[in-house]
Symmetry: C2
Subunit: 584 residues, 2 copies
Amino acid sequence: MPKTKDLLYKYPHRWGFKDSKFVVENGKVVFKSSRYEILANQVLPSLIPFIENELLGEKLDVNDTLEDNPKKIIPASFRNKPFIAKVTKELKQEQISFEDLDRFCHSHGQTTTDEVFKAIYRGKLQRVVDVVLFPENEKQVKKIIEFAQKHNVCLVPYGGGTSVSSALLLPRKEKRMIVSVDMRRMNKILWVDEENALARIQTGITGLELEEALEKRGFTMGHEPDSMEFSTLGGWISTNASGMKRNQYGNIEDIVQSFNFITPKGEVRQTDFLDRYSIGMQPRSILFGSEGNLGIITEATVRICALPKVKKYASVMFPNFKKGFFFLKELSKKHSYIPASVRLVDNRQFRLGYAIRPSARDWKEKLVGALKKFFITKIKGFDPNEMCLLTLVMEGEEKEVDYQKNKTIGLAKKYSGVSAGAANGKRGYLLTNLIAYIRDFLFKYHCIGETLETTSPWDKVESICHKTEQELLRQHKKFNLPGKPFFSYRVTQLYHASVCIYFTVGLYGKGKKNPEDIYSKIEKSLRQVILDEGGALSHHHGVGKLRKEFMNQVLNQNSKEMLKEVKKSLDPKNIFGISNNIFG
Amino acid sequence: MPKTKDLLYKYPHRWGFKDSKFVVENGKVVFKSSRYEILANQVLPSLIPFIENELLGEKLDVNDTLEDNPKKIIPASFRNKPFIAKVTKELKQEQISFEDLDRFCHSHGQTTTDEVFKAIYRGKLQRVVDVVLFPENEKQVKKIIEFAQKHNVCLVPYGGGTSVSSALLLPRKEKRMIVSVDMRRMNKILWVDEENALARIQTGITGLELEEALEKRGFTMGHEPDSMEFSTLGGWISTNASGMKRNQYGNIEDIVQSFNFITPKGEVRQTDFLDRYSIGMQPRSILFGSEGNLGIITEATVRICALPKVKKYASVMFPNFKKGFFFLKELSKKHSYIPASVRLVDNRQFRLGYAIRPSARDWKEKLVGALKKFFITKIKGFDPNEMCLLTLVMEGEEKEVDYQKNKTIGLAKKYSGVSAGAANGKRGYLLTNLIAYIRDFLFKYHCIGETLETTSPWDKVESICHKTEQELLRQHKKFNLPGKPFFSYRVTQLYHASVCIYFTVGLYGKGKKNPEDIYSKIEKSLRQVILDEGGALSHHHGVGKLRKEFMNQVLNQNSKEMLKEVKKSLDPKNIFGISNNIFG
């Protein structure tokens, strides 16, 4: 019996909840689900035509599918006996698993090509963990690390398994026993300090659990990365996570005030971080983004906020991306009314959104149908192949929220923006949760999809988007892939000098022997273009192993040596041997 | 001839501009100055009575003064000949000074007891730099560091000399030649990127120079520490500086996106920081707060903002500190309208402010005189020995500013706050610049004053303030000092879970042989109380040598070792041997 409890409701290898998936019935896509509100169990007649038109370049053959490989190649577990003996004394039997399914599902994250595709269709990963441990308190974590240090065992911290940077991909050459330390049983809120609006939380908690538990106490942390249903607090700290409501609640480094970091050398501690202080160089600051390379984060003190009285959605249609973008630029300086979340999707993503609408025959009809009641005359002149959608979330007191909404929509008018209602806004955010299900759905039809994100200075957004698309077209041709490449983007975060751009890329691989490897190569070439054009290596996904080879372009030799000294000081035997980022 | 150009207009050892000082004329204090607007050249008849009442406990004897020691004890310069030979080839003659005055004034900062008092009245410092260099570009800085590394010379980066943490106090035991590297000739704005609202600036620029230069281009950086007339960009980065308009513009770590950090090992570099990205552990983050221990910061990329259309001041009177404090707590959550700066001064500081008003006989009369026109009936019932003043700065577009003002003052009413006009607000901020002049003025009358600051969780502010005052009273008794201790505080920064409290402490030392050493001991006991009560070691002044002995209470052994590895990696020969914080 597997001991990974979430396997009861989660897929072991694909993304998401077992009760949710896209299927084809009677030639139409249906989203079977017992959650996700308005989209659950809807027939989506336009989705196949959209995919045919935008990606396949031909009719979808629903009978030509790639089937899951049910036989996983899982080598026997290599056991470090003295380590196991000690761990067995410290942990209960049901906290230790040598089961194949537990081991295999802890040996990968959610990176499409290197991990999910290989796990599902090839049934083979380059290395499989030898045992999975499920500690239930900090003391046990400390013991596990102590034993690993003593007996030279490799530890891999495991949170939600949602990494898309191949950070959980195991080093092929690791000869030592590899132990996955699944933190998810450490999911308690230890205390809530209402007076200072802080909470102390175990880091194995998922976003969903965390928000549910805080909500009962009348609070929210407000951190909502797209992965929040599954990803964990510890994972967010390890990867420099960012949530969509950052404008209001901050990114993870703003939210987390302090945390316990347990390394083979012991704990790294500075007195509780009080928002801000001046004590010289701060160990805390460098430990964000450790990507599993140094130790395990067990508990964190985080900012919490009273639950907002009101949460409202809104949306605005712009005639084209450029107009929407310049609106964003001005909005980013409006500290007094910028909504909690502001996202601008490009025309293709906007159309994809409409293709996921139930009923009506094609997206153009639907679009007109949905909008005509309100402002058909206003959008006359908007080209359906150019227009873009902005979605907004506002939280706070009723008056504040209304002020934000009125000011924001007022400013949008200056850029030809037309209010498109709350429902379109809400749908936009709901779709975020579905993208990964669509990825997994399309796998079987020989399509590979993935997301890439970057931070781009305001003045480079246009060239980064344009040149990345050009490169994708070039690569598509070079590898002689069928159909046409799907390329789409949205701006999801606004900063002073830059924005986060989030790309969605899809390729059709029918007839190719190893489409995942082709995609992998293409992705690297796209990343190089982004770097060449002045974008960042990643805005919030991190480096892991996927972007390791680019680190020389990001840090110079002295910087790397400095970080390696930090590693050496805390983990001299490389117990945390996952080899992400510049390590290994 | 001294080569330190700012000696032309700045005092060599005391604080401030040579054209500004407090003097006593005809038994009354006059503030002689050619700047500082409304306060310049005013007779301040209430100041001496205030001091007599609040600090001396007796009549001020204007004839019993402590005189400056004109003879400074300056040992001969120790010269590392090969280093000097190389430097002489690289730098012009007028960039190298062995002059006594240059050397002595580069051998201390502005810490009252350890530095200023010793420099002025004792004429003796524990160590004096052997030479002062004035590099004019990054290349020269690199060369200086290269030569120092080669010939084992100790380098001390020097910015504005405004440190109040004894960070510029030289290690008594340093046997090597000590070279002060005065960065202030590197004060250029290298470029302004209007599109992304960024600027690249040499770090020797002072706050005043920086804002003047940006203003000409239509921008501001918005960073206004109390020392901004003299302190430098490089100094701010080295000490984790905080400015009073943080609510709007951020603290230094928010403003500075990236910087060049030159160490004996070479440059530490990561690609330009684009507000935020996820590249694993970030070298940049740990290099804030280096306190001169690792290298020299030469250039920084900073956020800039369009000059605000409007700047308005306001003030609010509260019946007592508690009311004002709870108002602040609610205001801190009002992201949509919190003003750029919000400061609440306690009753004693409020009364000091009134004692610095020109004309009228005593502060009570003046207070009544100033306020009666507007709302004398409203404040009936306010006890003049309890009431507190809140001052506000708001910047932005007229409408925004008015919205902030109305909302803020509206909220204040809930806490019995009464609007007290713009003039009182403006005066409050102007006084900030004068406090250090008052310190220096009072020296000669045997008074020693200093500031201490901390970050305190919201729920600990009351106990920290109360217990620190109790400790001061206890220490005053213990050392059998004359008069009574002056103790006052203001809240200057608001955060999610905490605030910055800024204490002003004054002691009367008449008849004591080494009052500065007594004060020094007392300050340490106050700091311990602050730490014991849950306050931070410092909010923005830093650690330097003044708070070095407390670092064990702030960082654990593993944290310190980690930081020491960072130092060893970048400066293995301890060229930057200033020994601040945990180093040396």
